[in-house]
């Protein structure tokens, strides 16, 4: 007989699973309907289209319902579900429950299919004559995404992975034979502490909206081929490509900002395969936007434009294959683990590659490809060259990122470069120089034909100005030792002033050009900010005090970047006097207060601030997860994280004959009256008074119960602090609630009231001195001019927005 399990909530999972299957079926119906609507020759017959719209809306509704069920399960902490158990815990604040949602693969697929659904709905309303053909492609993709969540076995092949799998089905363990197994699982595994950051609430949705929107230009490209409306697809494709690159770009930079703010690798970009996977399609679609615009204005480069918008979406699929199949394995620290769906992901990708290839081959002869070369002094030619340069950039990133894929295909055993950052930078800085130059001087070119003389005069004038600025800039930032850095600074500044001129013209009335000018300025600032911050960031926590470990260190040229700080012992780092002041615990995090001071020549205080880098201590796993804290100035940041801290002892709970008191020295009992002072090893405690209005959480008091608090002021070497232990008579029992001051290693209990002596009993517990480990090992880095990078991003996004408004307006007037 089957075991009847106690306390399970199976209904939300069943409803959720039902909607998953329904969303798959509806997507399939929508695909079929839109296909027949597209191939139908009778233009007046809208029945297929209406069925498609219905099915698509049903799919969207099911996707939303699935999301609601999953959210409900996580929110209610139903740990009988594997997803809730694996990704959440009861201690998690509500706003991070949203992050749990996309910590797992299933949730992030859900997010993708949700956004794709929303975009499809927008297209149903706005695409007009394109609706049927574009929606066919989107429905096809929606079918694939829905299948990722199915979690059913067909003919022995597992298709997708459902977020509604029960814990007892997902994992084999003896406890699942017990009917009351749920009562033995009090809490879930919790969310990875690194994801407990507000950026993680908004970064994944933005990134996935970006990925999802890449399909729209792709679908227009396919529809253009299929419906033989080759040139017509360009205008909507431009508008949607701009939207996709804007959102994806924002998402990528948010991720980079999150890495900088919450991770302790000490930077904003590490060329990690997961980062690379997201930036590759962004670069190809940026190239795509430029070539589409070139084609629209000159009739050149149609095939390149089509190829780029198609390959961008294919690369999104390739990126999800890389990050979700587990193939990156040893080369990346933050790829998803394998869920056995790599085959399915490959099928998804190959179907779309095949679809695009077949359609291009069929239509090859009819494509509007010009036989004539562009003029060298024309804007379209340089837009094309810029795009080609971006493609080369992508080839380089893909080649290195795909090393594990080559290994899997050819059975080779090549390891990725030992110094990936230097490897990528070598190529990408050179490419960035070319891109910045092209984005600068092509602003002086016109479509079709430009007056060479005028062109050279303006270019030379602006280059001279840029060269002067470069001289000043590299001198101030101190990057004049590297030729490539100087060249990139020059190119970026050239681009900023050339596009600044364009912006000036835009303000005078040629408003159409404003978007592109602003976006290019933003992009050049990003290059400049990233270059300066990456080239000149400096570890200031250099350890010169290490006591010798012999000769072996002399030979190794590794910088000694971590430094130990003892509590209240200042250490000089660069201009800063740095002091570790103590730690405090809030929720799961322990915050380490680190004080920075700058004194001027006379010894007066010039700067004074505290940073609170934190670490989550996981006592069971004996590990910490550290997050940095950063002081932001306009022109530089000071970034600090702890790399090693003394692990807190696991405090004994009151059970099995152990009590918390074992962590302390033998307590000292004091009989006190109000106004008395009690000494402890490092300070004293003043009894201030009695609080008769005490409320205790979760403990309702009856009329004859008595609860009183003892108001204490604790004078510590670090300053004053308050404490109020509580004494309670409930029924006939005496109880008390002590107060812990972890920073002081103190525990204060109000243990009795002695009316006959008119005294109160205060019991002071103090931790052994040796137990208090007052040091941290930390690392501090100064990042100069990093605000250029973040500011540039905002400017670039504004530029994209302006361009989208312009293109959307053109689309409406068309």
């Amino acid at each position: 007989m089957d075991t009847v399990f106690v306390g399970e909530h199976l209904l939300p999972g069943k409803i959720g699973q039902f909607f998953i299957v329904l969303s798959f079926g509806a997507a399939l119906l929508s695909l079929i309907s839109y296909y027949f609507a597209s191939t139908n020759t009778n233009k007046l017959d809208t029945s297929w289209r209406n069925l498609g719209r219905f099915a698509y809306s049903l799919n969207m509704a099911s996707v939303i319902a699935t999301g609601c069920c999953l959210f409900y399960i996580i929110y209610k902490h139903y740990f009988e579900y594997h997803y809730a158990w694996a990704h959440s815990s009861t201690t998690l604040p509500v706003y991070y429950i949203i992050s749990c949602f996309w910590e797992g693969q299933e949730g992030s697929f859900w997010l993708w299919t949700f956004w794709q659904g929303v975009l499809g709905l927008i297209l149903i309303f706005t695409a007009r004559s394109w609706e049927n053909s574009v929606m066919t492609t989107i429905s096809l993709s929606q079918v694939f995404l829905a299948s990722m969540l199915l979690g059913v076995e067909i003919l022995g092949i597992k298709i997708g992975s459902s977020p509604f799998i029960l814990l007892r089905d997902a994992i084999e363990a003896p406890i699942f034979s017990r009917a009351n197994y749920l009562s033995l699982i009090p809490d879930g595994n919790g969310l990875n502490p690194l994801l407990q950051n507000y950026w993680m609430v908004i970064h994944p949705p933005t990134l996935f909206l970006g990925f999802a929107s890449m399909i729209v230009p792709f679908a227009y490209g396919i529809a253009g081929l299929w419906m033989k409306r080759y040139a017509e697809m360009v205008k909507p494709a431009i508008a949607w490509s701009l939207f996709a690159v804007m959102i994806l770009g924002t998402g990528i930079i948010m991720g980079s900002f999150w890495a900088y703010e919450a991770l302790n690798f000490g930077g904003f970009w590490a060329w990690d395969p997961v980062e690379n996977a997201s930036i590759i399609p962004w670069i190809t679609l940026i190239a795509g936007v430029h070539v589409l615009i070139a084609y629209k204005n000159s009739g050149h480069s149609y095939f390149t434009a089509l190829f780029l918008i198609i390959i961008s979406f294919i690369l999104v699929l390739y990126a999800s294959f890389l990050t979700r199949s587990g193939i990156l394995g040893e080369t990346s620290v933050h790829a998803f683990t394998d869920l056995g769906m790599s085959g399915q992901l490959l099928v998804y990708m190959f179907v779309f590659v095949l679809l695009a290839t077949v359609l291009i081959v069929q239509n090859w002869k009819n494509l509007p490809i010009t036989k004539k070369d562009e003029d060298t002094y024309s804007r379209e030619f340089w837009l094309f060259i810029g795009a080609i340069t971006l493609i080369i950039s992508c080839i380089q990133i893909i080649a290195t990122t795909s090393i594990p894929v080559f290994n899997a295909i050819f059975g080779s055993k090549i390891a990725p470069p030992t110094n990936p950052i230097a490897h990528y930078n070598k190529w990408q800085i050179a490419i960035a120089v070319v891109i910045a130059f092209v984005s600068a001087f092509s602003q002086f070119l016109k479509y079709k034909k430009t007056d060479m003389r005028k062109f050279y005069i303006s270019v030379v004038v602006y280059m001279v100005v840029a060269a002067l600025l470069t001289g000043v800039g590299v001198y101030i930032t101190g990057i004049y030792t590297n030729f490539m850095y100087i060249l990139l600074t020059f190119a970026a500044l050239f681009s900023i002033i050339a596009n600044g001129k364009l912006l000036g013209d835009a303000l005078k009335g040629k408003w159409k050009l404003a978007g592109s000018a602003v976006a290019h300025i933003g992009f050049a600032l990003i290059l400049l900010g990233a270059l300066i911050a990456a080239a000149t960031n400096k570890v200031i926590s250099v350890n010169n005090t290490g006591i010798g470990f012999g000769e072996e260190f002399a030979k190794s040229n590794n910088p000694r970047e971590n430094i130990i700080l003892y509590k209240n012992t200042p250490i000089k780092m660069n201009d800063y006097m740095v002091t570790y002041k103590g730690d405090s615990t809030s929720g799961v995090n322990t915050y380490y207060k680190v004080n920075y001071q700058v004194l001027d020549a006379k010894g007066a205080l010039k700067e004074n601030f505290d940073l609170y880098p934190n670490a989550q201590q996981n006592i069971k796993m004996k590990q910490i997860v550290a997050s940095p804290d950063t002081k932001h100035y306009l022109l530089h940041d000071i970034y600090t994280h702890v790399s090693s801290v003394p692990l807190k002892e696991e405090e004994h709970e009151n059970h099995d004959g152990h009590s918390d008191d074992e962590n302390y020295d033998t307590p000292i009992v004091h009989q006190v009256a109000i106004g008395d002072t009690v000494r402890y090893k490092e300070g004293f405690i003043i009894v201030k008074g009695i609080n008769k209005n005490v409320k205790i959480e979760n403990l309702p008091l009856k009329d004859n119960d008595v609860a009183i608090g003892l108001t204490l002021e604790v004078e510590t070497p670090e300053g004053k602090t308050q404490a109020e232990p509580i004494f309670l008579i409930k029924g006939n029992n005496k109880l008390d609630f002590g107060k812990k001051l972890d920073e002081q290693g103190l525990k204060l209990r109000f243990t009795n009231v002695l009316p006959e002596k008119n005294k109160l009993e205060l019991t002071v517990y103090q931790k052994q001195k040796t137990d208090r480990k007052d040091w941290i090992v930390m690392k501090a880095i100064v990042f100069p001019y990093i605000n250029l990078l973040w500011g540039g991003t905002i400017i670039m996004v504004i530029g994209f927005l302006l361009s989208i408004f312009r293109r959307a307006k053109e689309l409406k007037s068309a």
């Binding site: 994992i171 990875n192 040893e330 490897h423 971590n562 090693s644 090992v777």
Partner: protein
């Protein structure tokens, strides 16, 4: 010759350059014995020898961490890392080191661990809950 073909040739040339550069910069997976024979940096995959001492004393030197690792061929070697000890190091199932051999010790400049971290491993942690609450 058409300019289009010239551009095409240039792209192909650069693409070949990219692939050669990737190959030239790429490292190899090897054993400690391979590391002794080469001057190049390489990747060594292996397991932590939990039986031998791991040394990290931040109060003495915060940037010195040493341990013993057994590579996949079974060779053991002392590894020295100039940095802090990764806190969950004992739990690692597999270690990938990047670095080079010097005087019989392996100097790692990067350690990548695979951990049965609580965030990836499906292992139910059972807590026995008592029927009588404490007060």
């Amino acid at each position: 010759m058409k300019r289009g073909s010239i551009i095409g040739i240039i792209i192909i040339a650069i693409a070949i350059g990219v692939i050669i550069s990737t190959y030239a910069d790429s490292s190899t997976y090897g054993s400690f014995i391979d590391a002794k024979e080469t001057q190049k940096e390489l990747h060594v995959v292996g397991k932590l020898n939990k039986g031998k001492e791991m040394f990290y004393n931040p109060q003495k030197d915060a940037n010195y961490f040493s341990f013993y690792m057994v590579d996949n061929n079974g060779t053991e070697c002392k590894v020295i890392f100039n940095g802090t000890k990764p806190q969950d190091f004992e739990k690692s199932e597999q270690i990938v080191l990047t670095g080079e051999m010097q005087n019989g010790n392996f100097y790692a400049n990067k350690i990548l661990m695979k951990c049965p971290s609580k965030y990836t491993q499906d292992k139910v942690e059972v807590t026995e809950v008592k029927s009588q609450p404490n007060i």
